[in-house]
């Protein structure tokens, strides 16, 4: 039992470190990338992998320490998985609308929102 507790704590610690590292790398990405559209890829890392690792760690920890199998964290995962892409989509759309500058070697023509076509 002692051994199992150590093992669970090891896994929880590893998951927490992994999640924290991913969040830091996402933040570094936000600083290092050059234009708005590329910076949007940084938060995607922290809202998927980092959050996933931390939620797994939380489920494991509380499962082992309270002994009851109930994980409300799954609802948190569900809500984040629903809301994060929508907010990213809206932010990118508004960036396109404001014609924010893009990195010079971006492939594909300069797309802008066409009010006449897009608003019906």
């Amino acid at each position: 039992m002692e051994y199992l507790g150590f093992l669970v704590e090891l896994v929880v610690a590893l998951l927490l470190v992994c999640g924290g590292l991913t969040a830091v790398v996402g933040g570094i990405g936000m600083v290092r990338f050059n234009d708005f559209y590329m910076r949007m890829h940084g938060p995607a890392m922290s809202s998927t992998m980092a959050l996933g690792c931390m939620i797994l760690a939380s489920i494991l920890f509380f499962w082992f320490h309270t002994g009851t199998l109930r994980f409300p964290e799954l609802i948190l995962t569900l809500f984040v998985l629903i809301s994060a892409p929508v907010s990213a989509h809206l932010l990118t759309m508004s960036a396109l609308h404001l014609k924010l500058p893009r990195q010079s070697n971006t492939q594909g023509g300069p797309f802008e929102l066409n009010e006449k076509i897009d608003q019906d």
Binding site: R32, P85, V86, H89, I117
Partner: protein
């Protein structure tokens, strides 16, 4: 009998969602299971008039498989983007890609755009209903055709099979 069940459970997907959400929010005891069952029956009935008809899920097992595929792809894409962020000389070639959608229904398209946005490295930027295309921003793209093919084979074709559209 079959007709009675159809009348009782008008929205099977929403009913299951309410059932499991209630169980997760409270606790896994028989009492809350009974309450969750009644809520799952009553709430879709009461809100029936507000729901826009959605395509039915034809292959639920394929949906589970699809979710696992997406989780795997998210982990792989995270590693790829992390390597790109941390490499000292990063020469990424970002690009906008127009992806032609093969579906019409709003719900599968929402699932597809969410999947694309969730995996780091690709980001759905704008849905253009006039010619049924999706504008995708990719962080590092070598071959635009290959990316479009990958998204079609990996995400859109399973979604089309799941929803039968």
């Amino acid at each position: 009998m079959k007709r009675f069940f159809h009348w009782l459970i008008t929205h099977p997907f929403i009913s299951t969602l309410i059932f499991f959400t209630w169980l997760l929010l409270t606790s896994f005891t028989p009492g809350s299971a009974v309450l969750a069952f009644f809520l799952a029956l009553i709430i879709p009935k009461l809100t029936d008039a507000f729901w826009v008809p959605q395509p039915k899920i034809h292959k639920p097992f394929k949906l589970v498989l699809f979710v696992f595929h997406v989780f795997y792809d998210i982990i792989v894409a995270n590693l790829a983007v992390g390597r790109k962020v941390l490499s000292p000389s990063h020469h990424s070639r970002p690009g906008f890609i127009i992806y032609p959608l093969a579906m019409q229904e709003p719900f599968p398209i929402t699932l597809l755009t969410s999947t694309i946005s969730l995996s780091p490295g690709t980001l759905s930027a704008h849905l253009r209903p006039h010619d049924n295309t999706l504008l995708i921003h990719a962080l590092d793209v070598d071959d635009r055709e290959a990316l479009v093919n990958f998204i079609y084979e990996r995400y859109e074709r399973p979604l089309k099979e799941i929803f039968g559209c």
